[in-house]
């Protein structure tokens, strides 16, 4: 998952669409994020490469929209509604996720287990 900024990255991603939950004036996604290019990536417990300054899902509330949609702790968010999230500040990411005028966010996330699954399936197929 580590990559060189500016270079193309190939990762296995999953598309996750979260319907925001309306709570009064607030729209709730039901997860929290950490990371960002302005954050200390060394303290990110989820990243494989400690220099990765991407946005990671740090918590997912039980039964919340995010969990329902399949988001998991430790997922790295690659895109939000098409916006790149791999080179953004924490706050920029937060803002993209919490736009008041959008009821749905479409995420592109990647997680280690996804990669593993793909790798395994690719290795298995040839054997077959």
């Amino acid at each position: 998952m580590s990559y060189i900024p500016g270079q193309p990255v190939s990762v296995v991603v999953q598309r996750i669409e979260i319907q925001k939950l309306r709570d009064g004036d607030n729209l709730i996604l039901g997860f929290s994020i950490g990371g960002g290019i302005d954050q200390d990536s060394n303290q990110n417990p989820f990243s494989e490469d400690k220099t990765d300054k991407g946005i990671y899902v740090t918590r997912v509330s039980k039964g919340g929209p995010a969990e329902v949609a399949g988001l998991r702790i430790g997922d790295k968010i690659m895109q939000v509604n098409g916006w790149d999230m791999t080179m953004v500040t924490h706050d920029q990411a937060r803002k993209k996720l919490t736009k008041k005028n959008e009821d749905v966010v479409r995420l592109l996330v990647t997680r280690r287990s996804l990669e593993d699954v793909v790798r395994q399936s690719m290795m298995q197929q040839p054997t077959h």
Binding site: I4, S32, I37, D38, D40, S41, N42, D91, Q92
Partner: protein
């Protein structure tokens, strides 16, 4: 021991900057540049030129009012004729245009000199061109003026950034930037010119019903101009090409010109500056510059721009201008170029100058116009000089003209500034009035092709003219000519103009000494130190100081201090400035503007500092001179009231939360420089040598000095002592928290204020609040300096920083985007960690941020810090882990070993390699850690410098490796890692390093000038601000909550 280097850094920074001031008013020169291209075109110009010369000479002798009147009338008559001719021409032209809207042809014709066309036509062309310059004034002015303003004035909000930046670079760097500016201007001008030409034609038409005045006609003219461009370039947008063409033609012209007998001419033609300009012309930058303006043109609104410009100007000059106005106005009238035929009266030339001078200096409202006028003049001078500009001169004495002027003024003020209004003739003036605004065309018309501007020797000769206005005009003209034109500056010097100007500083008339001072300011600006030396050699510095004492005119003071700032950027002059001007600058400027009072009146509120230009210039000058070594520092520290006033100013800045400006930056830099080596240099410092630190405290002070001077070897011993002291400090530490500052019997004042623990809070406030990188760097540097050394005060300072919660503030700044800031902060942390408790805190809370600044393997971190910074960080890490296995352990957990080994093995920098290897050796020296290290897959070879492969050895053999370091390395191996480690930094930053650092700094400034640099006051400043903002805003506010705790918590936001 610790690193005191800070000072140097400051110095370097300082020196770079001084120069920028010049341009403040000098924008005019830029204008000139473009004119040149225009001028080149027609051969007719040359003839006219000659003609003009003779005329001028004759006129010279005729001073009487009657003759002037007569000449005015004659001029008016001529003007009429001319107008008619113009109309005819216009028709011709339009016909031609219609026939072939072929740009290239047109241009070619123009440039080359349209031999096929009738003479009249040629003249017309010339006139048009010249007018265009004027016109351009209006249009151009906005941009150009803006540029100028930007340069000079920090305040301008509206100025285009690009321009500004350019300017800035100029300051620091030099000509390059300037050239760019020229180019920019030129481009603009060109654009303008085209427009103007059209306009001119239209103007005659004006009677047809077009009120020439820009208001309505501009659109038409604009389009026309566009067409032309097309024709010329074939490409509208590709102005640069067009420009280049023009330039070329210009060059040709120049060459041909030079062939002519007229030496003076040749002079101009040959100017390197022009050539450069031309080259630049082609460059992309122009195009860029050009574009932004375009919109303005399209808008057709001169007004918007003007209006825009005007306010700015006012700010700048507002106060100053007034005095000149009266004179200026008269001048203006005179200047109004009477068109053509009018032969210049004796003063004619002078008048021109005046107008120029006014442009530069004059105030505000008029300025736009002036500037245009200036441009014209300049170009004319350089290139075609003779022809167009000359005429306006005469008005000087004319009462009539004066009246006209008066009338205009209101007009001008209200409207946008007529581009050339002042210079114009009475008749023209009348036209203008009718029009409401002055159309550029009118201006052009006015210009008499036969007139010429005085050449440089003539101008310099006029400095000695018995009539004062002549002198002042000559000086003002010189200022204009010198703006961003190194060639002219050099010529002035070689023509012995500088002593004359300096002599004029003592002239009783304010108009004269002001203009002389303005010229000196421009001459003193730039990389060419010979000009500065020339000013000094004719006792210019004492003369400036004398004038400062004598005058209360703010504008003059701005000019004086600006000149001094420029002069102070040259090392050998620093001490001269201190000797002659330190106390005067302090008493006349620093103290009054800082708001500090010797004996504060109990009733009155403490006054705030005023960030005037004078204060900014003076503090910049002091900032530069404060870097001139121990003696300079001593003089400044002991200068009565200086430190007190600077501190007061800074405190007031903090109180008002207004600390991003240049004046604050200058003040902090002075403070940092003065804090350098306080523990060694301050009288009575011996008494405060920390007795707990050394067994023989008395000897330590002197010994240390010697050692420092001796370089690394001596340093090492000092280090060891220091190290021991550090230990002891640890033991004593507990006391500090409760403690324990010395009781004071009387209020501290003067240099003692430099190192009182109270200043810590001031610097920390600056570090927290300021967004100016230079200020941040300087404030961190001041703490670095103060926390160095082992005397009592530095102990207090180190403890105070901790108690004031300064450590988290510093650690946060390790994440700054600015290399310099990171470096200064890293070194400050290093010095602070002399205090044992600080060391523990820094070790546990700052390690990650320190390590994250290190490059990892091939991949540099996003910041890509400079070698110096990396070395500084490595040295800081070394200091932190020295004598603290706990900290070494946290270094490991911060995953630094990878990076350190990578640096040690692969870094291209010998210094980085060495510093990293010191750290590694120290880490390995902790036997209790070896187990863990081995588990992680490391072995002894990773931690031994020599053991590493051949590449490493070869590195150490590199020529870049200084001899002094070699022994150190060996010692390191043999002796305790800690001790040796300390030594290294000394080496790097030691007293010797001081000068080196300075140089480097100044170099880097010049280099960096392009982007942003210290030189430009406002530019860097602006950039910094923006960047900083960006950074800050990026940081989630949430995290800041935890900031008190050194360790920043990772941010986590629910969404």
């Amino acid at each position: 021991m610790q690193v005191d280097l800070v000072c140097r850094i400051c110095d370097a920074a300082v020196s770079g900057r001084s120069s920028r001031e010049e341009r403040s008013r000098s924008s005019l020169p830029t204008l000139t540049a473009f004119n040149n291209p225009n001028c080149s075109h027609s051969p007719a110009d040359i003839k006219a030129h000659n003609f003009g010369q003779t005329a001028t000479m004759e006129d010279y002798d005729v001073p009487s009012a009657a003759s002037i009147l007569a000449s005015v009338k004659e001029q008016e008559a001529r003007f009429e004729r001319l107008t008619r001719a113009l109309e005819d021409e216009r028709r011709n032209v339009s016909l031609q245009l219609e026939r072939g809207s072929l740009p290239s042809d047109m241009l070619a014709g123009r440039t080359t000199g349209m031999s096929n066309q009738p003479l009249a036509w040629q003249q017309m062309v010339m006139q048009e061109q010249s007018p265009s310059n004027q016109t351009s004034l209006a249009m151009m002015q906005e941009p150009q003026e803006v540029v100028e303003e930007t340069v000079t004035i920090e305040e301008d909000p509206g100025t285009p950034t690009s321009h500004v930046s350019v300017v800035t670079s100029d300051d620091g760097t030099t000509r390059r930037t300037e050239t760019k500016d020229h180019l920019t201007n030129m481009k603009v001008t060109k654009m303008v010119k085209t427009v103007t030409t059209r306009t001119v034609r239209q103007v005659p038409l004006g009677p047809d019903g077009l009120p020439l005045p820009e208001g309505s006609s501009p659109l038409g003219s604009y389009t026309d101009s566009i067409d032309r461009r097309y024709m010329k370039n074939g490409d509208r947008f590709i102005m640069p090409q067009a420009t280049s063409t023009l330039t070329r033609s210009y060059n040709n012209y120049a060459d041909s010109y030079s062939d002519t007998p007229d030496t003076q001419f040749r002079h101009y033609a040959l100017h390197d500056g022009y050539g450069d300009v031309t080259e630049n012309y082609g460059s992309l930058s122009r195009g860029v510059n050009y574009r932004p303006y375009r919109p303005y043109m399209a808008a057709g609104g001169y007004r918007p721009e003007n209006s825009y410009t005007l306010p700015i100007r006012k700010e700048d000059y507002g106060h100053v201008a007034q005095p000149q106005v009266p004179m200026g106005s008269s001048t203006v009238d005179l200047n109004r170029s009477q068109p053509e035929r009018f032969q210049p009266e004796p003063y004619g030339l002078e008048d021109d100058r005046r107008s120029l001078g006014q442009d530069e200096e004059e105030p505000f409202d008029l300025e736009p116009d002036y500037s245009t006028a200036n441009r014209r003049t300049l170009p004319g001078r350089t290139i075609r000089e003779p022809l167009r500009n000359g005429p306006r001169v005469r008005g000087y004495e004319d009462p009539i003209e004066a009246e006209l002027i008066d009338e205009r003024h209101p007009y001008i003020h209200g409207m946008y500034p007529a581009p050339l209004a002042q210079p114009e003739r009475g008749s023209l003036a009348s036209l203008d009035h009718m029009g409401g605004r002055r159309s550029p065309s009118i201006d052009s018309i006015r210009k008499d092709p036969r007139w010429r501007d005085p050449d440089l020797p003539e101008v310099i000769a006029m400095l000695g003219h018995p009539i004062d206005p002549v002198k002042s005009n000559a000086a003002a003209y010189l200022q204009h000519l010198c703006y961003e034109n190194d060639k002219i500056k050099k010529d002035v010097r070689q023509l012995k103009g500088i002593p004359v100007l300096v002599g004029l500083l003592d002239h009783p008339k304010s108009e004269v000494h002001r203009k002389a001072c303005g010229a000196l300011r421009n001459i003193s600006f730039g990389k060419d130190h010979d000009n500065k030396v020339a000013i000094k050699n004719c006792d210019g510095i004492p003369a400036l100081i004398r004038l400062m004492r004598k005058t209360n005119d703010m504008e003059v003071r701005e000019l004086i201090t600006g000149t001094l700032w420029n002069l102070s950027s040259y090392e050998p002059l620093k001490m001269v400035i201190i000797n002659h001007g330190l106390q005067t600058m302090t008493n006349e400027v620093v103290i009054p503007h800082s708001g500090w009072e010797h004996e504060p009146n109990e009733d009155s509120k403490p006054r705030d500092a005023e960030w005037t230009t004078v204060f900014k210039n003076t503090s910049g000058c002091l900032r530069n001179v404060s870097s001139d070594g121990a003696e300079a520092r001593r003089r400044l520290r002991e200068c009565e009231g200086l430190v007190d006033a600077l501190l007061h100013a800074l405190q007031s800045a903090v109180g008002k939360k207004d600390m991003d400006n240049k004046s604050v930056e200058n003040c902090v830099c002075i403070m940092r420089n003065l804090s350098y080596h306080v523990h060694k240099e301050v009288p009575g410092a011996e008494k405060f040598q920390d007795p707990s630190a050394l067994q023989g405290p008395d000897s330590s002070g002197t010994q240390r000095k010697k050692k420092d001077d001796a370089g690394c070897f001596g340093g090492k011993k000092a280090k060891e002592e220091w190290f021991n002291q550090g230990r002891k400090n640890g033991e004593h530490d507990k006391n500090y928290d409760t403690l324990d500052l010395p009781k004071r019997t009387e209020p501290t004042k003067g240099f003692e204020l430099l190192y009182q623990p109270e200043v810590v809070r001031l610097y920390l406030s600056l570090l927290t609040e300021s967004q100016n990188y230079n200020t941040l760097e300087a404030a961190a540097g001041a703490l670095q300096n103060l926390s160095a050394g082992q005397w009592t005060w530095s102990n207090y300072i180190r403890a105070t920083v901790r108690k004031e919660k300064g450590l988290p503030i510093l650690v946060e700044l390790l994440r700054s985007d600015s290399d310099k800031v990171v470096r200064a902060v890293a070194i400050a942390l290093r010095n602070l960690s002399i205090d044992r408790r600080n060391k523990d805190l820094i070790g546990s809370y700052a390690m990650r941020d320190l390590v994250s600044n290190l490059p990892s393997g091939q991949q540099r971190p996003a910041k890509n810090l400079e070698e110096d910074t990396v070395v500084a960080i490595l040295n800081t890490i070394h200091e932190i882990i020295t004598d603290s296995s706990e900290n070494a352990r946290s270094l490991m957990t911060a995953q630094a070993i990878d990076k350190l080994v990578a640096i040690n093995r692969t870094s291209q920098s010998a210094r980085e390699t060495k510093a990293a290897s010191h750290v590694l050796q120290t880490v390995w020296s902790y036997k209790e850690l070896r187990n863990a290290l081995t588990k992680d897959g490391w072995n002894k070879t990773h931690f031994q410098p020599i053991a590493t492969g051949t590449p490493k050895g070869s590195k150490s053999c590199k020529p870049g490796y200084d001899d002094t370091t070699l022994p150190l390395m060996e010692k390191n191996q043999g002796s305790r890692g800690c001790g040796s480690g300390d030594m290294i930094p000394m080496d790097e930053f030691g007293p010797d390093g001081y000068s080196t650092i300075n140089q480097r700094d100044s170099n880097s400034k010049y280099k960096s000038s392009d982007g942003s640099s210290d030189l430009q006051e406002r530019e860097p400043f602006k950039n910094d601000t923006n960047r900083k903002h960006y950074i800050r805003s990026n940081r989630p506010t949430v995290s800041l909550v935890d900031a008190c705790d050194v360790k920043p918590q990772p941010v986590d936001s629910w969404v």
